[in-house]
Amino acid sequence: MTQLKPLINSNDHLFGNPAASLELVEYGDYECPHCRRAYPIVKAIKEILGPELKFVFRNFPLSNIHPHAFMAAVATEAAGLQGRFWEMHDIVFENQKNLEVDNLLLLASNIGLDIDRFESDLRSKALHEKVEKDFESGMRSGVNGTPTFFINGRKFEGDWSRGALLEELRAVLA
């Protein structure tokens, strides 16, 4: 059935314990209100499971309905080049309603990024391609909306909003 393609690899941003056997992958869109709702839920899961969990976020921007989602994704990748992917990931979700490029620059400076470098990286073809590659991998993995979660490579079909995601992760761990 719907299987993650490709599996977690060196192109991914990894949070948590790289050696953990439990893997959670989220395909998300920074301008999607459902992803915004999932953000604190995932954050809590990361805290609860601690070193037992490896978490990866892949970009799945729905650019026609969310005109700022693609550049917001590029911005997190640009922050990643300065070793600050997850800080940018968080602050972008927390400021979801203000994701115009000017605001992305503001957020980047709030977390202390080198702004000249950040600004030039926002135009980097390689970063734009990386976001597209994430999107393509989501397409091929059967992502049918955002957020979509995969646990150890298998699509999670339950309702992530009601505690079922943590339950399922615990069940896989047990």
Binding site: T2, R140, N144, G145
Partner: protein, 158 residues
């Protein structure tokens, strides 16, 4: 669902209030027919919005996406405008569901299309199909796999 290898039944339906689209006009292209229950489902990235993001990937395979539901052409116009769709939505409105019935994609109980997908090749032959449970958006992986396989078969035969 129609069996693989069937000649895709021809039809003409409204694509906008003043334009119609005939399937046969799309010979020499692959066609993805996506029957779906209704415009205006209340989620981000509903099936049609999702596919709308993937048009460039479909066109790499010389494939045209077409959405079909029993909604009126006016509903389609508004739905399409709001979501900035770059592909036609056809209105299977009068006689209601006639084309969906031809493709065995009509649900008599709900009076809506089922969530049925077909890939039709350049010669108008059904080459792939999938019927999804109505509440489940089937994503696009199956369509892309099917398009890729058709292109692979073609290049090995040439």
């Amino acid at each position: 669902m129609l069996p693989i290898g069937t000649i895709a039944p021809n039809f003409t339906l409204h694509s906008t209030p003043d334009q119609r689209l005939t399937l046969e006009e799309l010979r020499n292209k692959k066609v993805i027919l996506a029957f779906y229950p209704a415009d205006w489902s209340p989620v981000c990235g509903n099936q049609m919005a999702l596919y709308n993001e993937m048009l460039k990937y479909f066109s790499r395979h010389n494939a045209q996406l077409i959405g079909i539901s029993v909604d009126s052409k006016w509903s389609h116009l508004a739905f399409s405008d709001q979501n900035k769709f770059g592909f036609p939505l056809l209105s299977d409105f009068e006689p209601k569901g006639e084309v969906a019935r031809l493709y065995e994609a009509y649900d008599d109980h709900t009076g809506e299309c089922r969530r049925a997908l077909y890939v039709i090749d350049e010669k108008g032959i059904v080459r792939w199909s999938y019927l999804s449970p109505v509440g489940i958006n089937p994503g696009a992986d199956g369509i892309l796999d099917a398009l890729e396989e058709l292109d692979t078969v073609k290049s090995t035969n040439q």
